[in-house]
């Protein structure tokens, strides 16, 4: 499924001006879009979920620190990949960050080539996540169009029951099963049972 995506945007949250300014300049110098924020709250107020990207996040900040923001994003179902940057990489912090799915945890000052590499990976990851989510949403929409009876038949099909078995289990005629089956295929926009099973298994 190919969709036209807006250009990725790199978000940067660090309370230190010099770090924000220099990283912004660096990322811009590689031709990427970047937006920086002084605080976690500023980022939350301005984050645009429609645009793919990643988040470079300082660990130690007043009011809401990086790890707290990571938890807050989870709570809000925002799955933007995060690269942590930290002035003193304490092991408990980095362990926490990784457990919650961070892409990396870089200790300041870090090798910028490594950062740029991680940005690329993170953006790729975000685009993947978005495609998967879109596919799943799409699939869910199709499933939502099925009637309760069709859903029952669908679950029998994916559990590899034959028409005959299914008819028996639901106490209806094999002919009716046939009708349900063809409607399901149409609504799910597939040509064969194999395709249908593959589609549901992948998600």
């Amino acid at each position: 499924m190919v969709k036209s995506c807006p250009d990725p945007l790199i978000y940067l949250v660090d309370d230190e001006y010099a770090v924000r300014d220099s990283l912004t300049l660096l990322i811009q110098s590689t031709g990427q879009l970047v937006r920086s924020f002084e605080s976690a709250q500023d980022f939350l107020d301005n984050y645009n979920p429609a645009q793919p990207g990643c988040l470079i996040l300082d660990v130690r900040m007043p009011t809401m620190d990086g790890l707290q923001l990571q938890q807050e994003l989870k709570k809000r179902d925002i799955y933007i990949p995060i690269i942590f940057i930290s002035g003193n990489a304490e092991i408990p912090d980095s362990a926490k960050a990784f457990r919650a799915g961070a892409v990396d945890f870089l200790e300041k000052p870090f090798d910028n080539n490594l950062l740029l590499k991680r940005i690329k990976e993170a953006v790729g990851k975000d685009i993947d996540i978005r495609e998967k989510l879109a596919e799943r949403r799409d699939l869910q929409q199709r499933i939502d169009c099925l009637t309760p009876r069709e859903k029952e038949v669908l679950s029998l099909i994916i559990n590899s029951h034959s028409n005959k078995e299914s008819a028996k289990m639901l106490d209806i005629s094999p002919r009716t099963i046939e009708v349900h089956r063809s409607r399901i295929m149409k609504k799910m926009q597939v040509d064969s049972v194999t395709e249908l099973v593959a589609m549901l298994r992948d998600s």
Partner: protein, 295 residues
Amino acid sequence: MVGEIREVEGLRRDGMVVPIDLSVAEFSINHISYYTAIVRDVSLRKIQEQQDKAHLDELAHVTRIGLMGEMASGIAHEINQPLTAIVSYSQACINFIRAEKPDLAQLGNALNKTLEQALRAGQIIHHMRDFVKSKTRHRSTVDVNSLIQISISLCNSDLKHNNIIQELKLANNLPGIAIDGVQIEQVLLNLIRNSIDALKDLPLEIPRKLTIHTYLNQDNFIECRVKDNGKGIAEADQEKILTPFFTTKPDGMGMGLSICNSIIRAHHGVMSFSSYPGKGTTFYFTLPTQGKING
């Protein structure tokens, strides 16, 4: 001059100049005024005082090195910030140069910023070195407010990490005074760090505030107050808090405040505090603005 003791210099018969205390008393008999002058050679006391000062300088130096050790991680964090910026600015410069038509204005701008950050990192290191360097120091004219700014900047990362809001109310009419700047800074750092310790256990919903206030008091002394709204000092501990080796901290030596007290006294000032358990603590010290400071 009647009734007060003056420190003057006297010449001994062997030609040596010695410090003497001179006091004059007045009395009258049958309406006639008489004066008695008492002159006392205080060389011995002066020597004692100097030994005391050397001893204090030494002790202050040792505890200062310990203090730096405790603060090392926070200071490393402060140095890492400009270093990170330098690395990123330089890489951006390299990228600019590689462009087909390098934008020289942009390049120059980024290089200037690199320079600024390098100087900033250097300043922190210079300062650290001055702080631990020598034990015997000369007093020089110092602006107390600038000592406060420096002390706060060294604690910045701890303040930030613990969500402490700092408020500086620094009077702009303070005269420069002749003090040992490093020792007074040591006092300030001790007080600020004690406040951070008192504040960091506060529940999150209470805003943590550190206020530093300077002003010229009515006796023409500079007065400095370091105030927090932390957990306060338990009443039973209050009378012991300034004595050596008393500590409420699990890894404390109990030297911090007692040295601070000695440093302030050696500067002919006074240190004191008021604390209310559950409400907060204010430490304050005074420093004379003229005269007396020459020890």
